[in-house]
Structure formats: structure tokens, C-alpha cells
Amino acid sequence: MKSFDYVRPATVREAVAAAAQRDAAYLAAGTNLLDLMKAGVTQPNRLVDITHLPDLDQIEDLSDGSVRIGALVRNADLAHDRNFARRFPAVAEALLSGASAQLRNAATVGGNLVQRTRCAYFYDVASACNKRNPGSGCDARGGDNRLHAILGWSESCIATHPSDFCIPLVALDAVVEVEGRAARREIPLEMFHRLPGDTPDHENMLAPGEMIVAVRLPAEAAGFAAHARYLKVRERTSYAFAVVSATAALRVEADVIADARLALGGVAMKPWRAREAEQMLIGACADSSLFRRAAETALAEAKPSGDNAYKIELARRVVVRALALAAAGTPERMPALPGSPFAAVSGVVTHG
């Protein structure tokens, strides 16, 4: 690991000032950052340790009905907060489907949003990677790319964003609160991550030195609590990143879908909101042929980026299954295997 200068600011203002210099990085839990630094993928000159800052670890109910989650709230604390999990069960399920218990105890909300892709060529400093070393090429093209992107990829980069947490957040219109040297500003999470285009090294809308201070979910997001699920297909039952995942959230009134949210993970370099498919669902009655048509719409633009054409049909089936699970209703208790397709057969939910 390359040597760095360590600073521990006492306030957010001090942190932002300390991170203004080139090649500075914020340190929260470090569960991804230290791994990247050990591999030499990221080589910051300065770490600004924000873990001792006060007040960023709160989950607050605001007067307008929205919920504000501080950037330093730990994944496990958010997922197990009863009030939060009751109102946003798909968010809790996504969090608990990710990583391991040890990592969830450490990893933070803010860190999750800016974690890096797990593309093996990005991690291997001997490989060409336009994200790590702009202009060097992409060894994932023509390489081992079964797990790579099927939507929104470019010739420069076919990596995917690895977050589970971000998928229901995008579906539920979460907003990111960001503090910079000038002022605090807000970015809708759907706009926060960037597709690779010709500049895959620019992954999000943060300006240099800007710091995530909170993520907010609007009041309407809790309206989906009775029919909200996260489904995640992995190559092993637990402790693996998504091959494909989806959040489906429905508001059902008198057997009619009054509102619908759908977002996919593991398919692109950003959480993929399927707005057209959502529109098809609204006003209709829940049934499997409708779900299949919505899935086809959601994947209409999908293209294989390598040996991953199978992911397109897999993604359609994950969407159908997630919608069926959501329509059947949120289980009263978190499933033993959160987000797992093994937890239920053919969209039939075992409650309790």
C-alpha cells in the first residue's frame, strides 16, 4: 500500500477543506477503499477520516414524512432498525442480501454509494482498464466477461455497479445530500451515478472534494411497504455480488396496481430504473403475462457486452419473479435468506 497522509477532521467543514487537495480520499469504514489500496488500484495521497465526525450516524424522521439517513449509518444498523425496515422493507432486504455480517457491521451508507466496481480487470493492475487508467483499453472486452453489463455500457467500459442497497433506493426516488466547499446541494440518486461513455473514470456527479452527508427517502416511498421486495441471483447462496438483481415495489388498491417501481442491479454501471415498465404496470391487475411484458420492456435496449447474452433473459425472469413476489406481499419477517430466489418457488410467498 502506498504511503499517505492521515487527517482526522472534527467537523464536516474541516473535512471538506482537508479533502480539497488532489488525490485525497474520504475514509469511512474502508471496507472497499482499503481493499483497493492494498491492491494498488487506488493510491490516495491523503486519507480524510470522517468516522469520528458527530451527527452523521442518525436515522431521522423528518416533519414532511421523509427519512434522512446519515452517511455514517452502518448497513446493519439501518437494516435492523425496526421502524425503518417496516417502512422500507425492500431496502432492508437488499442491505441484508449484500456482503457478510462483518462487512455490514462496518460498511456505511455513504460508502456504499461510491464503492467501486468488482470487475476483475479493474482490480488487476496488470490489466488494461480505462476506468483505472484512462486510455489504456479494456481487457474485459474479449476477456472473462460473463458477469458484465448488458445495459448502458460503452466500448470503453463494460463494468457493472456492485451495490444492492442502491437498487431499492433508486426505485424509491432517494436523494443524496452532498456537502462541498461552496454549499450543500442535493442530487437525485438516479442522476448520481454516470454511465461510462468515453470517460469511465468519472463514475458519479460528485465534484472533487465533495462529501456525501446523507441519503433521504421521500414520504411516498413508504407507501409501497406492503408490496416491496428485492430479489438477487448470485453464483452462490450468500456472500456474493449480484449476477442480476431487481427491486419491485407496488402500491395495490382494490386489486389494481395504483403505483409501481422497478429497478435492476448487476446490469449496468448504475442502478437501472425501468420507468417505461413501471408505466405499463400502473392501472393494471397483477398477473404473470403483464409482468412478462413489463420485463420485456425493461430489457428492450439490452445488448450483450461479451459472453453474457444469458443475462438478458435472466434479468427478464428476475423482473417477473420480483414482481410476483411483491404482488404476493412483503413477508412479515425478513426471509432467512434475504433476496434469495431459493426462499420461494414460482413467486409463491411463505409468510411468517
Binding site: 500500500m1 497522509d5 474502508g30 471496507t31 486519507l47 455480517a101 450468500s238 456472500y239
Partner: protein
């Protein structure tokens, strides 16, 4: 430039002068405090051999910078027995053959103590397996590990009921 870090390790307050901020909590425990019970497996947060309990929560000590945990309370495998009396989780691992070579065992035991403290798994083997998925065992002693965790949980529940009564 030196960095002074204070940690309470297994109940004892220690102040350590670090000459470099790169030292992980794992390396500090093993190399500076000679607490080699905590194992270095992958050193990348994938195997769980380095699991310790920090401020009551199990974490991977290989992905934690020691300096960032200034002021923390750390419990390692060396601190769980009371003198010659093993911790109920240690006893259960022996009784149920929850190990073969033993390299992952300190991490498994610390993870199991954390899992039981979190109180999410209950007596459901599926929830125990899911909750222990961050600890790999290359000998494949998973069946014994799951049985040991369930047994230890029962023993600790009974002990806490006795305490209340």
C-alpha cells in the same frame, strides 16, 4: 510523524505509538501486541479469519485501519475464556467438531459470538448459516460449526435465564 492510538484490548487499555498510518487493526493485534490468535487469511475481507469484536460488533480486522479505531474496545479470541473456563461458544465448537485444521476457528468463534449477540438467527439453522457466511472454512466443517452455534446459543440463553431468575 508518529500517531498515538489508544485501544482497550480484552479489557486492558493499551496506548500504541504508530509510526505509520497504514497499519491495519489485524496487523496491530498480531505484530505489535503479539495477539496471534486472530488469523490473517486473505487479508482482503473475503475469508473472515481475522474477525474480532469492536465496540460490540464483529468486523473484519484486516479491512480496518488501527488509527481510525482510536478509542475502541476490542475483543479477540484471547479474551473470551475466563481463566481456564472456556467460553460456551468455544466449548460447543469442541463438542460438535466445528473445526479440523483450526486456522479459521478463532474467526469462526468471534463471528459466532457476534451473531449470538446480534440476536437475529434464533434456532433456525438456515439463519445461522446465512449469518456465518462471512467465515470460510477450507476443511468444510460447516455442519459442525452450525451445530456448535445453535448449541452455544441455547447454552447462553439458558445461562441468561438463570441470571434473570
Amino acid at each position: 510523524m508518529g500517531f498515538s492510538t489508544t485501544l482497550t484490548v480484552n479489557g486492558v487499555k493499551r496506548t500504541i505509538e504508530l509510526d505509520d498510518p497504514r497499519v491495519t487493526l489485524l496487523d496491530l493485534l498480531r505484530e505489535r501486541l503479539d495477539l496471534t490468535g486472530t488469523k490473517k487469511g486473505c487479508d482482503r475481507g473475503q475469508c473472515g479469519a481475522c474477525t474480532v469484536i469492536v465496540d460490540g460488533r464483529r468486523i473484519n480486522s484486516c479491512l480496518a485501519l488501527a488509527i481510525s479505531h482510536d478509542g475502541a474496545d476490542v475483543l479477540t479470541i484471547e479474551g473470551v475464556a475466563q481463566g481456564a473456563r472456556l467460553h460456551p461458544v468455544q466449548e460447543a465448537f469442541i463438542a460438535h467438531d466445528g473445526l479440523q485444521c483450526g486456522f479459521c476457528t478463532p474467526g469462526q468463534i468471534m463471528s459466532a459470538i457476534g451473531l449470538i449477540h446480534e440476536g437475529q438467527a434464533g434456532d433456525d439453522p438456515e439463519r445461522v448459516r446465512e449469518g456465518m457466511s462471512g467465515n470460510l472454512c477450507r476443511c468444510g466443517a460447516y455442519q459442525g460449526i452450525t451445530e456448535a452455534v445453535l448449541k452455544a446459543q441455547k447454552a447462553l440463553d439458558a445461562a441468561s435465564r438463570r441470571e434473570v431468575a
